[in-house]
């Protein structure tokens, strides 16, 4: 039971790990943006499209939200080559995460759309707002106010989800932690440092997002 933590070999490799953290943030950001676009189309289709399109969107959402992201990426990475579609690990992870995020963001954005009451739009019309004006001054602020907190929550969860990319050999934070682990064999120390980096980046992201939400969208978010 005499185990001593020894960080001395880890310190020189911290910048290397931080580079991985930057890649994690990039993957999360790209997948989030892609997911927002898919989610926007999904939510619009759910609101306005015909019955068949609606049930197709339903099937997409319930399939992707009820199966693990890891296995989805496994499928993309290992099964698609059998059909001749060969993807790099980075691309496979990004596509998997985007599709997964799209399913969750469809649900979130749909909830945001339906939170706008008819009466609000009618009130805007009564006040003589044009359609663009009512979107700009009534609908958009309302939707952002209700959407911003769940969106920022999802963004944080996606940042944590990027650690899955390590399984496919993408050298983001967890992947690089695994590399350092096999170079130095100080396993506990490496993963402690990686954990602290994850805590710090998600903590900073939470603070920033809450600040932006409170400042620009009057969202009810606690800073701490």
């Amino acid at each position: 039971m005499n185990f001593i933590l020894d960080f001395s070999v880890i310190w020189p490799r911290v910048p290397y790990l931080l580079g991985g953290a930057w890649l994690s943030l990039q993957i999360a950001f790209l997948a989030f943006c892609g997911g927002m676009v898919i989610g926007l189309f999904g939510a619009m289709a759910k609101s306005y499209a015909g019955r068949w399109v609606r049930s197709a969107v339903d099937a997409y959402v319930s399939f992707f939200t009820n199966t693990p992201q890891l296995v989805q990426i496994y499928f993309i990475f290992f099964a698609l080559p059998e059909w001749g579609i060969l993807l790099s690990p980075y691309a496979a992870v990004l596509i998997g995460m985007t599709l997964n995020a799209g399913a969750y963001l469809t649900q979130v954005q749909l909830a945001g759309f339906t939170s706008v009451h008819r009466a609000e739009i009618e009130a805007a019309e009564t006040l003589g707002f044009t359609r663009m004006q009512s979107v700009r001054f009534v609908i958009f602020p309302h939707v952002m106010r209700t959407l911003f907190p769940p969106l920022s929550n999802l963004y944080i969860l996606m940042t944590l989800g990027t650690s899955m990319a390590a399984v496919f050999g993408v050298e983001e934070l967890t992947g690089r932690a695994l590399n350092v682990n096999s170079e130095t064999f100080r396993s506990v120390e490496v993963f402690l440092v990686a954990a602290v980096i994850y805590i710090v980046i998600t903590f900073v992201a939470t603070l920033l997002l809450a600040g932006v939400g409170r400042r620009f969208f009057r969202a009810q978010m606690k800073l701490l």
Binding site: P68, L70, F75, A79, E82, T162, S163, I199
Partner: protein, 229 residues
Amino acid sequence: MLQQIIDQAPKFFGYYNVLFLLQAFAATFLLSLAGCVLGFALGFVLAVTRRTADWRLAPLRVVMIVFTEAFRRIPFLVTLMLVFFAFQALKLDVSMFAVALFSVCLIATAFITEIVRAGLDSVHRNQWDAAAAMNFGYLETLRYIVVPQAWKVMLPPAFSFFVLFIKDTALASQIGVVELTFAGKVLANKGFPAALTFGTVLVLYFVLSWPLARFGRWMGVKLAPTRTR
């Protein structure tokens, strides 16, 4: 390619493979269920401790706040690796399933503490004050006044967390726990088409998760809290 899947399917769904997949299916379910039940018990204790006002418990409260805040911000894969290597460093000889279960418990406790805390907070202050006025102690207030009102608020999100966790346990395959994802990897390595194996695994996850998610949503609607002041 489709032809290959059709050719391989009868062999793939042979007796031993199906048995293997079902065992893995059960392991996935047990891992997330046990993790969430233990996590709920521990999370309840933590949330209750966090609400105490006694100054002697202050250090304990700080530790608990740090614990919940930290473990909600570490990816499950990193937690798994950390627990795995920590057990190894301490020379504790435990099975992989126990390592995974321990990590699941850690994360589940951190998340469920927040859910329980939100549930306790949902009971209006007046109820706490009224209980204090009636000379109820802290635990009595919880037992007779708060929990009977708060469980309706806590159960639906705790349940949806459980469903979320079924999917997260897929990462336990990375340290060699024989659960559904690991079974998929083993069968794919045996030479079955990846589309067939991972497709089957995806369907099995869906079969497990979808009814539970539906049930959770139904329960959430059924238990929609009535606001009492």
